[in-house]
């Protein structure tokens, strides 16, 4: 059951990912990206990382992608114009991609010959309670410093985008 679910959603993720690149209209690309995020969330859930899965849906598929769509619509971005591609890309692009993927899969197969590393449902630490405990003990400092980081992001947006009132 786990394997079937994994294969199904992994395929959806890859197909959507390829679609993001292939679509010429930015809105279609963004919607495909939501598909990638959603299926990734299911993969996290299969591994037992409940909190990450929920955060993935709420933050990425929800907040960030909606913001993406808003920006695309506000900018009124139209269809991508096709520019002349170089010959090198046309002829070598696909073979090189296949070679790279082949190399990666060979590497993974050689490194992990028996797929015993991934066990669905064996991981128990993904609940919000356990996650929060780690966040506020072991990773307390990075967690708190992130708040300064977000403050700077807001500050930067204000500095670069404000209107002069003087």
């Amino acid at each position: 059951m786990d394997v079937i679910l994994f294969l199904a959603f992994a395929t959806i993720a890859v197909v959507c990912g390829v679609n993001v690149v292939l679509q010429t209209h930015p809105i279609s690309s963004a919607v495909s990206l939501i598909g990638v995020m959603g299926s990734l969330a299911v993969l996290y859930l299969l591994l037992g990382a409940e909190f990450i899965a929920a955060a993935q849906v709420i933050v990425y598929a929800g907040a960030i992608m909606v913001l993406f769509l808003f920006v695309i619509m506000l900018l009124n971005a139209g269809e991508e114009t096709r520019r002349g591609r170089s010959r090198l890309v046309q002829f070598l692009g696909l073979p090189l991609l296949v070679t790279l993927l082949g190399l990666f899969s060979y590497l993974v197969l050689r490194l992990f010959p028996n797929a015993s590393h991934v066990r669905f449902g064996a991981f128990q630490g993904g609940t919000p309670a356990k996650f929060g405990r780690v966040l506020f003990t072991e990773f307390l400092l990075p967690f708190e410093v992130t708040s300064v980081l977000i403050l700077i992001a807001i500050l930067g947006a204000i500095v670069l985008a404000r209107k002069e009132i003087e």
């Binding site: 204000i158 500095v159 003087e166």
Partner: protein
């Protein structure tokens, strides 16, 4: 104080805490107390007060380490380590920040973009650098890096009315985000191999494996790409000339010294920590990068007419020299990197400060020709510029000679003769383009009648950097001792 935020944690974090608090306070005061633009000089005073508190925190840590005879204090369950190394780099950041802050008032007034946020951004950037020098946890280091980089993205684009500044900020942001992605990928592999984000655990896991293990190769490759981008080493240097040229000159000065010093602290922490056992993998890689960096930096600098661009290429080539010390890897070499970073901070800051003084109302003062006749109009500035340029070229008795001396000594000690010869040859090239500026200064005519823009802060800053450049060159003992203790483990 709970068990998750102990007194030790507070003691170690105090300098960064002060910087962040004063940064927030500046934002608040700029809005509440000083609505009148004329009152902004108080913000500089306020920033200096913050730096005083930060310096006091660092000094207390320093004396604690010495009086108890221990090498390091760890805090936050191994996320932060305050040792001689972190202290040494934090003093450099503090001096660079103070120098940049006191010259900024006048410059930003001339540019017409004087906002209180600038001072907060400087403080937050220094806060990020603190974590880069003191962090011993992958997550802390990464967040420290982003904290610093985000401040710089905004500061580079601070001149919103100028297209060059906007373009520079955009390029820096996009390429910086891209390289951070590589770094995060490398860190995720480190975590995957070791199951921990602490540098010491990662080092133990990496030491247990063969250095030619594909996972380790991948981790070394991706991490190196991210780190080499941050120190603007070739072939990842393309962003530096554009960002340096477009940014406000005071920000360029800060970016070229403090950001580079912090990135080097980060690089040393990673390469001498988790990746130290993979030396056979990265040593040839870094040697190739160092040669390429010196080549690109020095050769491209020859044809530049814009001083900021010229100094940008020269700072790229200096990154190449610093990498040579890491490649040698013995005590002299690492010591040499520390000395080089310190010396480079003072001399490069000084050179950029003279360029800051050249910016006057209606005169950009960024071309090499704009310096023509400087010797006859303002001999003081011209002499200081001469000292900085001699030092950048590495000619005794200035400080720059000392930095290069230790780097080359370590290369010879470890038998890297080819690298030493190449490095020495490029010094000759560097002398050529630095002396183009000198030649321009000594031409007798065509200098705009407008006097240089001086201020008390600028004169003070130039005096300090100039004096340090000369003093380190002539009487190096105390500074060498400082660099040596920084690497004591």
């Amino acid at each position: 104080m709970s068990q998750f935020y102990t007194t030790t944690d507070h003691f170690v974090l105090a300098p960064a805490l002060m910087l962040a608090l004063f940064g927030c306070a500046i934002l608040l005061f700029d809005f509440l107390l000083f609505p009148n633009p004329k009152d902004r000089k108080w913000l500089t005073m306020f920033l200096l007060a913050g730096e005083a508190f930060c310096g006091y925190g660092l000094w207390r840590q320093h004396s604690f380490l010495i009086s108890n005879g221990i090498g390091e204090i760890t805090a936050f369950q191994g996320s932060l380590t305050m040792d001689g190394f972190a202290l040494f780099f934090n003093w450099i950041f503090l001096i660079a920040t103070v120098v940049v802050a006191i010259v900024s008032y006048n410059y930003l007034e001339i540019e017409g973009e004087h906002h209180g946020e600038y001072y907060a951004l400087i403080l937050f950037a220094q806060c990020g650098m603190f974590f880069l020098a003191a962090g011993t946890d992958l997550v802390t280091l990464f967040i420290g890096l982003e904290l610093m980089a985000l401040c710089f993205y905004v500061m580079v684009g601070f001149l919103r009315g100028e297209r060059r500044s906007n373009e520079a900020a955009m390029k820096y942001l996009l390429l910086g985000a891209f390289s951070s992605g590589f770094l995060a990928y490398g860190f995720s592999i480190m975590y995957g191999v070791s199951g921990s984000t602490k540098l010491s655990d990662v080092a133990a896991a990496f030491a247990a494996r063969d250095p030619w293990d594909p996972m380790i190769l991948l981790a070394v490759a991706t991490t190196s790409v991210g780190l080499l981008f941050k120190i603007s080493a070739a072939p990842f240097h393309m962003w530096a000339p554009d960002a340096y040229e477009g940014a406000p000159t005071t920000v360029t000065a800060y970016l070229s010294v403090a950001s580079k010093a912090a990135s080097f602290a980060f690089l040393l922490r990673i390469f001498m920590g988790p990746l130290s056992t993979s030396r056979p993998v990265w040593e040839p890689l870094l040697a190739a990068v160092a040669i390429a960096t010196m080549t690109f930096g020095n050769l491209a600098a020859i044809s530049q007419n814009n001083i900021k661009r010229l100094l940008a290429y020269s700072s790229i080539s200096h990154a190449g020299y610093m990498l040579l010390g890491l490649i040698a890897g013995n005590r002299t070499g690492l010591n040499g990197v520390a000395v080089y970073v310190m010396v480079y901070t003072f001399m490069n800051l000084g050179a950029f400060l003279v360029v800051v003084a050249m910016r006057r109302k209606g005169i950009a003062g960024e071309d090499v020709d704009d310096l023509a006749g400087l010797m006859h109009k303002s001999p003081g500035y011209a002499m200081l510029m001469l000292v900085f340029l001699l030092s950048l070229a590495g000619i005794p008795p200035t400080a720059g000679f000392l930095g290069k001396y230790y780097i080359f000594l370590s290369l010879i000690e470890t038998g890297h003769y080819t690298l030493a010869v190449i490095g020495t040859l490029y010094v000759a090239v560097a002398i050529y383009y630095y002396f183009r500026i000198v030649k321009s200064m000594f031409i007798p005519e065509q200098f705009e009648p407008a006097p240089l823009s001086t201020s008390l802060g600028l004169r003070l800053a130039l005096g300090v950097t100039g004096a340090l450049t000369l003093v380190i060159g002539i009487y190096p003992e105390p500074f060498l001792r400082m660099a040596q203790t920084s690497l004591m483990r």
